[in-house]
C-alpha cells in the first residue's frame, strides 16, 4: 500500500472538507500496479499557507483553486515550477476561463476539476493523476537502476584493466632499478609474468570488442547459412594448443549436420568461449566433448567437460559480466569474466536458450538451443 500526499488549497471550507472526505476513503488500483494507492489529504485556505505546507510536506498531488484571497493559484503554480518541484497540479476552479487555463497548463497544471464537482468527478481526476504519477515513478526507478548497472560495469572494467597495468609497471620499475640483479636472466620470472599479463589484457580487450559488437545493430547481409559442425571444428583447432598443454582430449560428436541462418561470427563466439572454457576449467588429462544435434525446430549444442565444476550457488551469477568464480581451483586460470555473459547475449539474440548443469569435481554441461528457422535479429 502506497500513500500519495494530497494538498488542497481552496478558500472555501466546504470544498476542502469535501475533498478530504472523498479521498480519505478512496484508493486507486490497476492491474499493472504492484500496490494500491491511498491518499492523505492536507488542507490550506490560502496560497501562502499552501506554500508553507508544500515546503514542509512536499505533497505528490496539489488540488489548487485559482481564485484565492491573497496570492492567486497561478502564482502558487509558478512558485512550484521555478523550484522544479515534482508535484502534479490540478486546478479546481469555477473561473476556468480560457486565459487562466492556458497560463495554468503552461505553468505545469495537468488537469482541471470544474467547481462544483461530484465525488465521482473528483475521483476520476485523481485516478488519472495517480496513474501518471505511478508511471513517472517507475520510469524514474528504471533509469536509476540502468545507471547503477552501467556504473558497476565501468568500475569493474577499470579495475580489471588497471590490475595488469599495475603489475607491468611494478615489474618494469623493478628492472629499471636493477633491483633483482644486474643480469637480464635475473628477471626471467618478471618478464614471463609481464607477457602473461599482457596476454590477459589482450583477451579482455578482445572480449570487450565482442561485447560491444553484439550490442550494435545487426547487418542483415551477414546472416547466412552456417554449418554448426564446421564452426565447432574450427573452434577446436583454435583451442588445441592449450588442450595439448593440459593433456585434454576434445571430441566432437555430430549427430545431426544441422545448419542455421546466422552470422558466422556469432556462432564462432559461442563455440570459442565454451570450448576454451571446457579446456581451461578442466583437470589435467580430462575430456571435453562437443555434441551437435537437432530437433524438429532447434539446433542443440552440448559442450561438456570433466573439469572442476561449479557449485549451485555459483551458477546463479555465472552469466553476469565480470563474475568469475574465485576459489582455490580457479586461482591460476586467467579470464576476463566476460566470456559467458557474451555467449548468453548472443544466444538470446537468436531467441535461443542456454542452460548449465554442473557438479563440482565431476564436470559441467552447457546446453544451447537455437531455433533453426531464421528469426528477426534485433
Amino acid at each position: 500500500m502506497a500513500v500519495l500526499k494530497v494538498l488542497v488549497i481552496d478558500d472555501e471550507p466546504g470544498i476542502r472538507s469535501g475533498v478530504s472526505r472523498i479521498l480519505n476513503n478512496f484508493h486507486v488500483t490497476y492491474p499493472f500496479m504492484d500496490e494500491d494507492y491511498t491518499f492523505e489529504v492536507t488542507e490550506a485556505g490560502t496560497g501562502e499557507e499552501g506554500i508553507e505546507i508544500l515546503e514542509r510536506d512536499m505533497p505528490d498531488i496539489l488540488l489548487l483553486d485559482n481564485k484565492l484571497p491573497g496570492i492567486q493559484g497561478v502564482e502558487v503554480l509558478e512558485y512550484i515550477r521555478k523550484r522544479n518541484y515534482d508535484i502534479v497540479v490540478a486546478m479546481i476552479t469555477s473561473y476556468a476561463s480560457l486565459d487562466v487555463a492556458i497560463r495554468a497548463t503552461r505553468d505545469g497544471a495537468i488537469d482541471f476539476i470544474p467547481k462544483p464537482f461530484t465525488p465521482q468527478e473528483l475521483k476520476s481526476s485523481i485516478e488519472n493523476i495517480t496513474k501518471q504519477q505511478y508511471l513517472k515513478r517507475i520510469t524514474h526507478r528504471m533509469k536509476q537502476e540502468g545507471k547503477k548497472i552501467r556504473y558497476q560495469f565501468l568500475s569493474v572494467l577499470s579495475h580489471e584493466l588497471k590490475a595488469p597495468l599495475n603489475a607491468l609497471e611494478g615489474y618494469l620499475r623493478m628492472m629499471q632499478g636493477k633491483q633483482a640483479g644486474e643480469l637480464i636472466d635475473d628477471y626471467a620470472t618478471p618478464i614471463e609474468r609481464s607477457l602473461q599479463r599482457i596476454q590477459g589484457m589482450r583477451n579482455l580487450i578482445m572480449d570487450l570488442l565482442d561485447f560491444t559488437k553484439i550490442r550494435l545493430e545487426r547487418k542483415e547481409e551477414k546472416i547466412q547459412e552456417v554449418n554448426l559442425a564446421e564452426v565447432a571444428s574450427a573452434a577446436m583447432v583454435t583451442v588445441q594448443p592449450y588442450a595439448i598443454q593440459m593433456d585434454i582430449n576434445i571430441n566432437i560428436d555430430v549427430r545431426s549436420d544441422v545448419t542455421i541462418m546466422a552470422d558466422p561470427d556469432d556462432m564462432e563466439i559461442i563455440f570459442n568461449n565454451l570450448i576454451s572454457n571446457a579446456v581451461k576449467y578442466n583437470k589435467i588429462g580430462g575430456k571435453a566433448e562437443v555434441t551437435i544435434d537437432s530437433s524438429d525446430n532447434e539446433a542443440i549444442l552440448i559442450i561438456s567437460d570433466t573439469g572442476i565444476g561449479i557449485t549451485k550457488n555459483d551458477t546463479e551469477n555465472l552469466f553476469t559480466e565480470f563474475v568469475r568464480i574465485k576459489n582455490e581451483k580457479t586461482r591460476n586460470i586467467s579470464g576476463s569474466g566476460l566470456g559467458l555473459s557474451i555467449v548468453k547475449k548472443v544466444v538470446e539474440l537468436y531467441h535461443g536458450t542456454i542452460k548449465v548443469d554442473s557438479t563440482p569435481d565431476v564436470g559441467t554441461v552447457f546446453t544451447i538451443r537455437l531455433p533453426k528457422k531464421p528469426v528477426t535479429i534485433n
Binding site: L154, S155, N166, A167, K326
Partner: protein, 131 residues
C-alpha cells in the same frame, strides 16, 4: 625496532602484485608473510600476530579487505592495517575512508590506491610503525 624485526602480512589475490609488494618490502629489510586469499589471511592471523598488515580489498569477496580489517582489529587492536585496491577514482567509485562513521567500522589505518611506488609504501609503513 629495526626493520628486520618487523613482519608484515600481505594478502592479495593478484600474484604479481603480491610478488612485487613482498619483493619491495623485503628489499627494504622487512620480513613478510604472503597469502593469496582472505581465507588464508584469516588462517594466518588466528595463529600469528604480524607487526603490520596490507590487505587487498577485492579477493574472493568484494569486501574481503574490509572483513580482514575488522577481524585484525578485533584480535590485535594495536596492529596497523593498510587497505589497498586498484578500484579507480575515475569511475567515481572510491573506497577512501572519509567520514567518521566509515572510520568506525572499516578501521583501516591507511587506504592506498594500487600502483604506489615502493619508496612511498615504505614511508607509509614506517609512519604507521613510528620508525
Amino acid at each position: 625496532m629495526k626493520k628486520s624485526d618487523i613482519t608484515i602480512l600481505v594478502a592479495d589475490d593478484d600474484p604479481d602484485y603480491l610478488f612485487q609488494t613482498v619483493f619491495n618490502l623485503e628489499k627494504e629489510g622487512y620480513k613478510t608473510v604472503a597469502v593469496e586469499s582472505q581465507a588464508e589471511a584469516e588462517a594466518v592471523i588466528t595463529r600469528f600476530k604480524p607487526n603490520l598488515a596490507i590487505f587487498d580489498l577485492m579477493m574472493e569477496n568484494d569486501d574481503s579487505g574490509f572483513i580482514l580489517c575488522y577481524k585484525m582489529k578485533r584480535k590485535y587492536p594495536d596492529v596497523p592495517v593498510i587497505l589497498a585496491t586498484a578500484v579507480s577514482h575515475e569511475t567515481g567509485l572510491s573506497f577512501s575512508i572519509d567520514s567518521e562513521q566509515e572510520k568506525s567500522w572499516i578501521r583501516a589505518d591507511k587506504y592506498l590506491e594500487k600502483g604506489i611506488r615502493p619508496e612511498q609504501l615504505d614511508q607509509e609503513v614506517m609512519k604507521l610503525l613510528k620508525l
